[in-house]
């Protein structure tokens, strides 16, 4: 198996460093932990790794209430209780009431899959620690039935985090880490081109000029990101606005700037 397995897709432009990190993680069969500003395409990465390698993708979107065990399996006691009272199906067979979660499905799959664990930092502080063994050994046991699930082929695990909580060291030790940097102008041009292939060079230049100008505004609370830039360009084109001719103020500012203070700040700077 060659090392250079992932090299981006037609609709997803990955920097060299990111490609390298993905390939290292795949080769070492370790989870890849991806961090970066919101809107830099962390979640999209998993989709595109799956597409590039031709593997199915399983998603596990973590919420503040998610428990680690739910990712493996859930024992639906309420359904079993319901069946026992109203006499539907075979209550004796507990396996009927075991539902595998995304991680459980990834490990039980008979072929290689890509598993996305999205926004792992949203969950409780101890959440990553509860997954250590499963991610390490790629196996788990269903206590209720005694069934042992062992992965046939180690899944490619991509974990995203927004840096809201510090992840435990023991967990970090087992991951390969990459920080997606905010794209520079050249890379950004290529990224925008993917979404708007027929955009004129001049228009793109102007848009990027305004965009990076905005991002450079000091004290901005939330800086606009790639996905917002793409939305903004979309809005500009739909409305047929020519950036070169618009004087004073940025059209559709609301697609780029999302808080009152920032709008005020940008307004003040535009006047000055």
């Amino acid at each position: 198996m060659s090392f250079d397995q992932f090299s981006g897709t037609a609709s997803y432009i990955a920097s060299d460093e990111l490609r390298h990190a993905v390939n290292v993680a795949v080769a070492l069969a370790r989870p890849l932990l991806v961090r970066g500003e919101p809107g830099t395409g962390k979640t999209l990465l998993a989709e595109n790794v799956a597409r590039a390698l031709g593997l199915p993708l399983l998603r596990w979107h973590v919420k503040s209430t998610t428990k680690a065990k739910e990712g493996l399996y859930v024992y639906d006691t309420v359904a079993r209780l319901h069946d026992s009272r109203f006499g539907d199906g075979d209550v004796k067979d507990i396996a009927r009431y075991i539902r595998l979660g995304p991680l459980g499905l990834a490990l039980a799959a008979d072929h290689r899959v890509v598993l996305l664990i999205d926004e792992i930092d949203k969950a409780d502080l101890e959440f990553p620690n509860d997954l250590l063994l499963e991610l390490d050994a790629m196996r788990f046991r269903i206590d209720e039935t005694g069934r042992e699930v062992v992965a046939q082929e180690r899944p490619i695990v991509i974990i995203t985090s927004n840096n809201e909580k510090e992840l435990p060291d023991a967990f970090l030790r087992r991951c390969v880490f990459h920080y997606i940097e905010f794209p520079g102008r050249e890379l950004m041009q290529r990224i925008v081109r993917v979404h708007h292939p027929d955009l004129e060079d001049k228009v793109l230049d102007q848009a990027l000029e305004v965009f990076y100008g905005l991002r450079a505004t000091p004290k901005l609370r939330k800086r606009p990101t790639t996905s917002e830039l793409i939305d903004w360009i979309c809005a500009l084109r739909k409305a047929g606005v020519d950036l070169g001719r618009v004087g004073g103020g940025i059209p559709f500012l609301g697609t780029l700037i999302k808080t009152e203070q920032d709008v005020e700040l940008v307004g003040k700077r535009a006047k000055a």
């Binding site: 390939n23 290292v24 209780l81 390969v176 990459h178």
Partner: protein, 408 residues
């Protein structure tokens, strides 16, 4: 030996474990580094470093370890030569300087450059300047902005050394920025959950248990929801030397006072040092005697003081030393601070002043009374950990000579 690189990393306070080191070795055996230094840089960083705030330390360690790599030095020399021969840059020189420069032929110059280059890399671990600005170096004399020869500025194909040299991850270090969101996240750790109040939440496990005991007839069990039990008192120093930190202080206040964050949150103000009274408002109108504050607070409440702890020693140590004080205080400020610190089981002082300026000032004295952290992401996390779990206080230099001065 490459293993020295591991120790270089650890010397830069990167907690690289054998686990990760083995993974790196495995990756090298698989050839994942592409047999190049650049490849190795990215590979080692991906495997060994798990936090962007540590990228900068990694860059430094990388530079320190690979400082003797020849290829890059040569490429650099070429770049510098080109720079030297560029007449535009010589325009700003005085006649004397130009003569001095011409006195050195190119070979000699290159020798000197290489020598200087080596010395500089050895002496400091990873600044942005390769050549000094001092008046004695023939290179610095040229009057060209040092950033003009910053490596990695122009042209494609930057090498790992250059990327590392650039140290562009510097601003992500933990000891700098702090916005409301970050403070919010840090304060999230300040919680002790407990179940209090009315039974509002369905307790599923207990319901299942009770239902089973009830032979299958549903028996619903409710319980009170989990709430944060931590109560916080925030004492803030305002005015004077705290003015430059006003923005930071207000961010901390915004994050801490957020509704529902703590079981109880109270804030008071003082100026420079705490004496008999603190104030409910920043305008110093509503007095609250400190004795009352103490008697009305539970020992388990968390006291957080925000202040730079910088003042004239007399303000802290002498009776009657208060700076704006109309009725002179009989008890020195330090004594009031001691009483506060003694009453609360856990108290923390957050200081917006960088800790390198603490030495030899009243900060040291106060740090011996209150466990003190600098108000950075790291410091705040440390303070929160201490407030919740206790444990070791940050080390303070012994300010005995100060204390002798004031209190004998």
């Amino acid at each position: 030996m490459l293993v020295d690189f591991l120790f270089e990393l650890r010397r830069h306070k990167l907690k690289v474990s054998t686990h990760e080191w083995q993974a790196l070795m495995e990756a090298l055996a698989l050839g994942l580094h592409d047999s190049s230094l650049d490849g190795f840089y990215h590979l080692a960083r991906a495997v060994c470093v798990k936090d962007i705030t540590e990228y900068d330390a990694f860059d430094q360690a990388f530079l320190a370890y690979f400082k003797d790599v020849k290829a890059d030095a040569l490429a650099l020399t070429r770049e510098l030569e080109a720079w030297l021969t560029d007449p535009r840059l010589l325009a700003g020189l005085t006649d004397e300087q130009r003569r001095a420069l011409q006195a050195l032929d190119l070979d000699k110059l290159r020798q000197l450059f290489e020598q200087r280059l080596r010395e500089q890399k050895e002496r400091h671990d990873g600044g942005n300047r390769w050549i000094g600005t001092g008046g004695t170096s023939p290179f610095g004399n040229s009057g060209v902005n040092p950033s003009g020869i910053r490596v990695g500025g122009s042209g494609g194909g930057r090498s790992a050394m250059q990327v590392a040299e650039e140290r562009r991850w510097k601003e992500y270090r933990k000891d700098v920025s702090l916005d409301v969101r970050q403070i919010d996240v840090a304060l999230r750790g300040l919680r002790q959950l407990g179940r209090d109040g009315a039974d509002e939440e369905l307790d599923l496990d207990e319901t299942v248990d009770e239902t089973c005991k009830n032979a299958g007839d549903l028996e619903l069990v409710y319980r009170p929801p989990r709430r944060n039990r931590v109560k916080v008192i925030l004492l803030m120093d305002v005015g004077g030397s705290m003015d430059p930190h006003a923005e930071l202080a207000s961010r901390l206040f915004t994050a801490a006072s957020r509704a529902g964050r703590f079981a109880r949150f109270r804030s008071y103000y003082f100026h420079n040092c705490v004496y008999e009274t603190v104030y409910e408002d920043a305008a110093f109108k509503k007095k609250v005697p400190v004795a009352e504050l103490i008697s009305h607070s539970d020992r388990d409440e968390k006291l957080v003081v925000l202040g730079d702890a910088l003042m004239h020693p007399a303000e802290l140590l002498d009776p009657g030393g208060a700076i704006y004080y109309y009725a002179s205080n009989r008890t020195p400020g330090l004594e009031w601070l001691r009483r506060l610190a003694a009453h609360f089981r856990r108290a923390a002082w957050l200081n917006p002043e960088p800790d390198r300026y603490w030495g030899g000032t009243t900060v040291e004295v106060i740090a011996s009374v209150f466990p003190m952290w600098q108000l950075t992401l790291e410091g705040l996390a440390g303070a929160v950990r201490y407030l919740v779990r206790g444990g070791a206080r940050p080390a303070v230099p012994n300010p005995s000579n100060w204390v002798k001065l004031g209190l004998g």
